[in-house]
């Protein structure tokens, strides 16, 4: 419960000062992997990480997370972990994935009742009365292509030619 509130809270705290870039979060190793000195697959191995080990995630760089395991810290491939704890529960990612790995089937998603949040659910949409006036409001925030390009140029974002990827043959 507390952990669920933590990431947004830390995100806000991070605004106040030089705090960790990413909120700390626990993750579980899916399959045996390694903790490496740097976020590269040919970087030195700091420790072997067995499946189901719990890590504390510190930050992300590309497809790698910097993580702490016991007293050691290093980098682990994003594909080797899932956020959440394997035991003691409640993480959708882990229970799902472990179930998926053992049965080849995906588990049912958790569906629960909203309590005390300003939520949105299927019934809200199914019973919605169309609000055409609100659609017009969107034009107030709309930006032109030129404005978007200027915005990108201000932040060193550069267009790159990249081809779409075919779906992988191997289905997990």
């Amino acid at each position: 419960m507390m952990r669920r509130l933590l990431p947004p809270l830390l995100a806000l705290l991070a605004l106040a000062g030089p705090l960790p870039a990413l909120a700390e979060q626990l993750a579980t190793v899916l399959l045996d992997t390694e903790l490496r000195a740097e976020p590269y697959s040919d970087a030195g191995v700091i420790a072997a990480l067995p499946a189901k080990a719990t890590l504390t995630i510190l930050q992300r760089q590309g497809g790698w997370y910097q993580a702490r395991h016991g007293t050691q810290s290093g980098w682990v491939r994003m594909s080797a972990i899932r956020m959440g704890e394997a035991s003691g529960g409640g993480s959708s990612g882990i229970s799902e994935t472990l179930q998926f790995l053992s049965s080849g089937r995906s588990g049912a998603s958790g569906v629960t009742v909203a309590t005390g949040i300003r939520g949105l659910d299927a019934a809200d949409v199914a019973n919605a009365t169309p609000n055409h006036q609100a659609v017009k409001t969107l034009e107030r925030f709309q930006v032109s292509a030129a404005q978007a390009q200027k915005f990108a140029a201000n932040s060193r974002l550069q267009s790159k030619p990249v081809n779409y990827l075919e779906a992988s043959e191997e289905r997990p």
Partner: protein
């Protein structure tokens, strides 16, 4: 089938002659406003050029879809954040095959974690999802996923298939006959059902697969979308804020599993900017929202 149609569309848009595409919209609008345009004829021509649904029709359908969404949840009353999301989103959308669309983005005022698209270039993200993000690359990746639903016409196809409805809406603003009103109302009810049920899983997987590439094209670290999926996977599935998302999307862990074999292809772009500080500065705006 859809891919071929989209490819055709993209090819048409890229033709030098079609540089008048933007002009086409302007003329259409002018013509409509002045009442001088023979709309029936225009739509017929557009149909021949673009396939079943003309751009003007797609806009009209999109407006109905958005009216349904915004009838269920209001826009966040925070103009600076709305404009920021429009800048990021429009820049991302310029790296799709439908960059000429009048792209519009909106942040929805709900704690629920979700994002939506509508035909014609409308994209929505909830405040609840933005609060769980760590960087602009994550926002860009999520918006890129949504642009794919628009570019590939996932919602348009689904609503058409579902209701087997005739989308040949006459969009003549001057004279909306009762019959046309009835058609629009059928479209509304189609979207009420579609948004509460969600798209096909395969549409979501395609949007993930293409979304990471679009983010890379826009110069962002392409792992933003996978990172968001990791965050969702790590949340308590009993969290009420996830209920709607989980009802309408495949499980985040399965989506990650399908993306992971493609990760090696993203690595050449992994050092592109995440723009964490800019994102967090913008999110500070949320604190000012009552």
């Amino acid at each position: 089938m859809m891919t071929r149609l989209t490819a055709l569309l993209a090819a048409l848009l890229l033709l030098p002659a079609a540089t008048c595409q933007a002009g086409f919209f302007d003329k259409l609008k002018e013509g409509l406003e002045s009442g001088e345009l023979d709309l029936g004829q225009t739509i017929e021509q557009a149909k021949q050029a673009f396939g079943e649904v003309s751009p003007a029709q797609e806009q009209a359908v999109g407006e109905e879809a958005v009216a349904v969404l915004l009838g269920a949840v209001p826009l966040l009353g925070n103009d600076p954040l709305q404009r920021y999301v429009n800048r990021v989103g429009h820049w991302v959308a310029l790296h799709t095959e439908r960059q000429q669309l009048p792209w519009r983005f909106g942040v929805l005022d709900t704690d629920d974690v979700n994002a939506f698209a509508a035909p014609g270039g409308y994209i929505f993200i909830t405040r609840g999802l933005m609060l769980r993000m760590q960087s602009e690359a994550e926002l860009a990746g999520t918006l890129a996923h949504e642009t794919v639903h628009v570019v590939e016409k996932h919602y348009l196809d689904a609503v058409q298939k579902q209701a087997q409805m005739d989308l040949a809406v006459n969009v003549a603003g001057t004279q909306v006959a009762a019959e046309e009103r009835a058609k629009l109302e059928r479209i509304s009810s189609g979207f009420r059902e579609l948004y509460s049920r969600g798209l096909d899983k395969e549409d979501e997987f395609e949007a993930d697969r293409k979304g990471v590439v679009i983010a890379a094209r826009a110069g962002y670290d392409p792992y933003g979308l996978p990172a968001v999926l990791q965050t969702l996977a790590g949340m308590n599935p009993e969290d009420a804020a996830l209920a709607f998302l989980f009802k309408t999307h495949p499980p985040p862990s399965q989506r990650l599993g399908l993306l992971e074999p493609l990760f090696s292809r993203l690595d050449p772009y992994a050092r592109q900017p995440q723009l964490q500080q800019r994102f967090l500065r913008q999110m500070a705006q949320l604190k000012k929202t009552p």
